[in-house]
Symmetry: D2
Subunit: 423 residues, 4 copies
């Protein structure tokens, strides 16, 4: 058993760009379900879940079994975009558990294995299909770090990292951006319909139904419906970036199901592979499948081990609505518990949907303090929002009630510690 | 045993963007070393090796063992950029087997797990460090499909896919671009030193030492040295994109070692993970490590299973120079064999370095025919070059002499078939 | 006396881009005051005044005398940016009649002799001074046709003419854009202060106090003050484009005087030369005068005959407040008369300030019909607005009361004709 | 008679951007032919001629007479783009003296009254006609200071003034850029025909036949022909920017006549108005006249006094070939004289065509010294070139032999003074 944490090699060899390791100064070795363990054997309850990439928990045993069998039997590991047995099984499973039950007719694209790559592909396709250039994004959006994805991302520090101007995109106000003091689509609708507004006609709108990185901002179902209608009436493609909120994070498989809309293009990544392995998908309406062969390619489009765990996860968790139901129930429970603690403190509020929740602090510094205090008590949570003012909760969807309570208990005590007991 | 190939589900469900599966109409199931096997049990000798991502062969047993042990023992799978045991071991191994023996002092960045993401990070960093915007790239370059990487890529069809103008980059002539009729750096040096040339001062030059996608174009060691000197004298960063040519493809671990240069930034991906799992690295001189924490992030930066196979691969293959030696010998052998066949046909020539070789056809259509003929005989090879006029060979570095001969034999007969026996 | 209008040579030789000549199919020969005369001797009362370039009327005799004397005496005609006697007299006159009486301390730049060039210079300077790139413009703005000026112009058809994406600018809602249903600066202030809004921090805001081309939209004094305060508090430069509304069009010399604000940069053109000769000025606060010598140059910066008429005009019309007073009175009179006619028709409204007025038609086609009807009766007026729904009135400031009444009379009868007598 | 030069008001009130007035510290009052006179009565022989805007000399009496008559008779001064008698006469004269005799069939566009505006219009049109974006320009090119024109200009200091990246253009090597050591079109032709060069297919090429600002660089007739052929074969428009070299500067009316080519688009300004009044033209092949009415507009397109002097100049100087002949003879004489002085000094060379000549100094500082020395002796000349290493001579085409000799004499003595007598 190692007794001290020696991070010197990381400091010596890893670039300054490293981030989470600074907030969580431990050297992690193993993980299972909602728990991580470090080298000294200390255990951490994970309410961050790989930023939403581990909806089914760490090293989920059902997926692990499928993965080990696949690797052991020399199943294709790296398959470019060749046809493989594993890909066929995944496609069939997507059709049978995801698309058909929801009456959706999408073609499936395997872009590079990251959410940013899926977004890049979606933007390219929307531009090709429409022959236009501008993409409308939303305030506080987050879509990735590559140049195309970054151009529709809101965060100023991330944007500055580009080193070049970010073009061909315009932010619009997200639902509730004005604390509901201004009509939601007043600006967007007006400028789209005014030929002298100075805005060029957009190819597409890209939207998250809940902005995770942006501070757990929720778009209401009616807002999403209005947005979809507004796009449809103007021949503008609607892209839902479901990288973080898809795969059941908010309850249903797709986060946009609550609105009854059918986006033109959907991006999926993070939990789609099930096991935390890099994988991404773009779903697109058949009429938009105007790609030329190889027009968007990449070496790791065929990460077949991830196809195997993706298939296993879809079969296990999406053949019925048990998980969706559980997420709804746990989410409601979590929401009530957070509301209660928020009520006890002034300057604290909370919001969420399914198993994504935010605790918002009027004093942004308190959010960071709560995370640090929680870490000392073995709970992993992170901040988000433009001023890091929100503690964001993304527990595995599969965690047990006792684990949920345990995490909640640490959170409540951390908030009490930071905000001064009960108000 | 399945007896017919039914690709209907791929045609029905997968986007038109799929590519390789069209050239190789089989449904692959397992793989080992240099061999793929399809559902009907047919075997294919792989001289493409995942476009260079499988330098150590498919499902390499040494790496497989480490991978299975890691997964079985619940090692961290998805680690964001947290410190983990697997990452520490990788960093130590990079230091001990790659950097120290070569006297290199680089910091290591874990970007998103693709070559394109590594390139995006490299470009961002070069722009941040220098405060300038323009990147000089080269004719026929290939660096990836995301917007930043695409802007330094040459292929017109890929570029058109962007749907927006690709900016802040300028191509320069690659080594041999004028068939050696024009002095190599005449244009580049002239415009860099002429304040009225109309070129803005660049942040960096990005170069491949061998352009794989561009048609197996080779940069000579002296050309690379001249380029490095030209950059150094003008405070322009030199980025070597070693995504395809690194990890021993040309012989030494880094392809630029033949020139004795030390790039400011190096990108690695494809074979760095060893097992074909998505992973990428950016190596950067410590003085350029001006990243702010989290300034370039991404969900799959911490694909720890790939760290484990990367570590195992470096320990197995780069603790000594056996593989490098073998690559040099096999490469020389392959080169001689190809030269012999080229000599027998007019309109056919060949070029290569280490285990990347190109067979160039004056009549571009012949290259595609050779690939199709070879496929029918169970050999996987692909074309590259601006007119798909080059058959590109990227066999696993670890293949046996008999396998090399077997592949060569199919190639020779395919060329003879297509080009009409011996000339 | 020519008796028919033969425009065949214009059709044969002049590019399709020609515009006004299509609306006013006459061949004009001479002009004086508010009147144009065509070849057949027909006279036209000019309520367009060179789109605001002829505030003092055509061939104003006072200016004409100065101009003839200057040319006759071989005064410098083309002076680049050399120091000349004529330029000195202009600078002194600007100082004594324009700047000093208003307590303004501006440096004077002579850019190329067009409003667009003045705008280009202003944008360059704002970017240089702040080191930022983005310019905030407003919906329905018009600033010119060169690439930089066009990027801050709203009209979609004009923008499309660029043939390239127009970048580094973002439109914001102009005063009253939402019919006063939404708080004016809600959006702009919110995104400027939200570091995750997706908007990059702007170098400057460029604004017209009345949008002439955009449809005679008026910014209220308090809105302009709020805008100026908002910029000042955030270190954003405020550029007032007074090309059309300056030189007394709205009453005071500068149109922004009603708000009591001092812009960082002011652009002037159109009537600044007095006689309709090409000339433009940029006024800039001394602390922003960070130009390097020759950094923005141009062949016709020193159109000295225009300096002479500019000087004469300033001395004649701006040594006292007689003209400003008269403009206020005539404007009020004109406004009342138009309000009366608007009241008599449903779907017609009117707005204006000083001697710029718009008659707005709910049915845009009526505006064009009114202009055509008026032309037939010898009155020149034009439409503006995003749907050409506004008849825009810009009579010379110097026209007589009888001329004003005569024009009004034609207008009223034209409106009655088009809109069906009295409602 | 004023006896001292007091430039204090210029220093106090005029922006730092002022340039020529710094080199020529005098306050000019009158001018005639090749002579300027300052307030103290000192006379200066003008070998700069308004940077080429005064090919017919200052206040040319023939043009002056027409101008005074026009103004006196209340001819339309400001005519927007209305049809006027003065414009008709100009169009007829262009047809009869310029186009018909040369067998040219061009439509005439009146853009804003500056060369930069003509260039902006030409670039817009080329992009519209071809549907492409990129413009190829040349090293050391100068086309103007507005954003579009600046993007095809070479000078780094001017470009930096933009404050934003200059896009959608790529420089190519101008004739002789490599001192004739490299085949002229090797690079350009290669990248245009290589679909993986990384260059996007251009809309147009814009070229000066002699680069005045760039250092009096001459393109040979055969180079221009090759360029025209290269464009024609690839459906790329050829734009000749004849703003400075047109109107007879090099001998024939259009500078490209020596090559026997017919550009798709020609820009004219500077001397086209004849008298130094702001005016510009775009000539375009009828098949390219795809402008929509008003798609490119501007307030001062109809500077009718300039139309009058333009007409008078064309009639006087271009009804026969006397002036062209005289320019050829004077140019040859000037060239011989300069060659003789260059021969006497090491590090001095000379080049030119017609009445534009450059004296090139290996030590750039000598060029500035020669200009200052010449100024002290009453001769106005200026430097050009990327390092201001060239003394550029642009005397009025109409100057007398004695004036030519007088200027030459000052030049020779200035060179001798600076370069140390005879070598």
């Amino acid at each position: 058993m190692i007794t001290t944490t020696d991070t010197s090699i990381f400091e010596a060899m890893e670039s300054n760009v490293r981030g989470y390791c600074r907030d969580w100064p431990a050297i992690f070795s193993t993980a299972e379900g909602a728990w991580l363990r470090d080298e000294q054997g200390r255990e951490y309850l994970d309410f961050f879940a790989g930023a939403g990439a581990l909806n089914y928990g760490h090293n989920n045993p059902i997926l692990k079994k499928a993965l080990l069998e696949y690797i052991s039997s020399n199943g294709i590991t790296h398959g470019l975009d060749m046809s493989t047995v594993a890909k066929r099984e995944l496609l069939e499973t997507i059709r049978d558990t995801v698309l058909s039950p929801r009456g959706l007719d999408y073609k499936v694209q395997f872009p590079g294995p990251t959410g940013a790559n899926a977004v890049e592909a979606a933007l390219k396709l929307a531009r090709k299909v429409t022959g236009r250039k501008t993409i409308l994004s939303f305030t506080n959006a987050f879509h990735g770090m590559t140049l195309g994805a970054l151009s529709v991302t809101g965060n100023a520090a991330k944007r500055a990292g580009a080193g070049v101007p970010l073009e061909h995109s315009t932010p619009m106000p997200y639902d509730g951006y004005f604390d509901n003091t201004i009509e939601d689509f007043g600006w967007m609708q007006r400028v789209l319909d005014d030929s002298s507004s100075g805005f060029d006609r957009p190819a597409a709108v890209i939207v998250e139904t809940v902005q995770g990185e942006g501070g757990v901002n929720l778009a209401r179902a009616e807002w999403l419906r209005h947005l979809a209608g507004l796009c449809a009436a103007r021949d503008i493609l609607l892209i839902v970036d479901d990288v973080q909120m898809g795969c059941g994070r908010t309850g249903p498989f797709f986060s946009f199901e609550i609105a009854g809309i059918t986006p033109d293009i959907v991006t999926l990544s993070k939990s789609i592979g099930g096991y935390g392995l890099p994988m991404a998908l773009v779903l697109l309406k058949p009429e938009h499948d105007q790609w030329a062969p190889g027009e968007h390619n990449g070496t790791f489009r065929g990460n077949n081990p991830a196809f195997v765990t993706a298939t296993a996860a879809l079969r296990e968790y999406w053949s019925d609505d048990v998980l969706a139901q559980r997420t709804a129930e746990n989410g409601a429970y979590l929401g009530r518990a957070l509301a209660a603690v928020a009520e006890r403190h002034s300057g604290v509020s909370t919001r969420g949907r399914g198993m994504v929740h935010g605790i918002v602090f009027d004093d942004p510094s308190q959010a960071g303090k709560v995370c640090r205090t929680a870490f000392e008590q073995g709970l992993l949570v992170e901040t988000s929002g433009s001023m890091d003012e929100v503690v964001k909760l993304l527990p595995p969807l599969t965690l047990g009630s006792d684990e949920l309570d345990q995490g909640l208990s640490v959170l409540v005590s951390s908030i009490d510690t930071v905000c001064g007991g009960a108000a």
